[in-house]
Subunit: 234 residues, 2 copies
Amino acid sequence: MNKGVTEPEAMESGTRTSTQASTVYDRLQDDILTGQLKPGRKLRLKDLIEEYNTGNSPLREALNRLSANGMVVREENSGFRVSPANTEELMELTRTRCWLEEIALRESIAHGDVAWEERIVLAFHWLNREAQSKVDNVKHTSSEWEDHHAEFHETLISACNSNILIDFCAQLAKRTLRYRNLVEVMEYRYRHEMEEHRDLQQAVLDRNADLAVELLTKHYTVTSEIVLTSGRFD
Amino acid sequence: MNKGVTEPEAMESGTRTSTQASTVYDRLQDDILTGQLKPGRKLRLKDLIEEYNTGNSPLREALNRLSANGMVVREENSGFRVSPANTEELMELTRTRCWLEEIALRESIAHGDVAWEERIVLAFHWLNREAQSKVDNVKHTSSEWEDHHAEFHETLISACNSNILIDFCAQLAKRTLRYRNLVEVMEYRYRHEMEEHRDLQQAVLDRNADLAVELLTKHYTVTSEIVLTSGRFD
DNA sequence: ATTGCAAGTTTTATCGAATATATTCATAAC
DNA sequence: GTTATGAATATATTCGATAAAACTTGCAAT
């Protein structure tokens, strides 16, 4: 509109240094993960441009990034859709996640230093606290708890000495989270997760790798099974 | 221009059903993997538009996809560059690759069926044949051998029952290949790779998981070390 | 010399329009 | 009824131009 004057002007939300493609990427990913955008749903460019109040190019760039991460599938010459969800994929995700996190956890336990232990203690503390406020019926967005939960699990494997592996695990965690958010019933969360996390943390701090791996694997497997029986996808 | 008649017209290369963004994606990836585009190199849009004879949008879409795969790094508001290469990353890649392929190989050996065995035999045959023609000084593009090589390793782990894991391994393979292509001296290939592949194949067909894993791990580790001592990155 | 600033230049990111491709719908032939 | 055909419509992809941001350069002050 104006060239020389670069009016700072009311900019939606103070997205200073970030690019538009990146913010719409974040929002899209978030909406997919939280289940706002349902699996398999066609992503019509025109609609998204309206919905996310952005332009053609940034939107397409975001979608292209998401497609490389498996969040979205690209259909050559006919646009994009949210990657479909099905039982088989959740099982595959869980299986693979157990394999990868086992390695990452063992390596972390073998090489983690004191600072790593401290980060675990802190992450557990925050998770616990959040869980407590949930029990006490304090208003909390479920996403806050999810953030702390993700943070806790990330911290456990953060000393594995491979950022690539950490990144893979993060991808698996995200894609799994989507399934959890697809089942409406939230009951499944009120099982013994607090105890599970406590025991897991203890085993890790004790450097008891075998036990820790067993607990972690069971944690993921049980969650997956609950989700599988609670929800119908595909 | 014309609608009903779809004039074929001189179209660069017969890109029928594929989109322009995808073809430039393939070419870019190829040029990065083969080392035509050196690590860390700035990717100026204007230059690439010329070089790849394409437009702004498809190019940016391709770059965005590549950035999600770690082939290219995005620098918010200042474009793209080829991901830098350094000793540490190669070591991390190799380490991670050994971990992941160990799992994938063990699973494949545990669950692979007869068809899988046949695919291995075939893949090995083609690789061997290609290697032979190399020894005989028959003209061969190095990429042909690389294709067969990749195919062989992919086949070994193809029965692991997790496409996600297979995909991760493929990513690691690609990113490792780039380092191999960075060292000009090709001598490193003329070691006992043929024997290594033969022994590996044998162990796999014998369903001797421990031996197979040992051979595979050594194969990757040795290659990595040779590359590390032959080339200087970072 | 070094730092700070401001115009000018280059490069990136985004927009709006044009083109190519897919999809739908109606009609006709079997 | 089912399949084939072709216009009409919708949608995706790409182009060319504009705006925004980063980077450079030159000059002035310390």
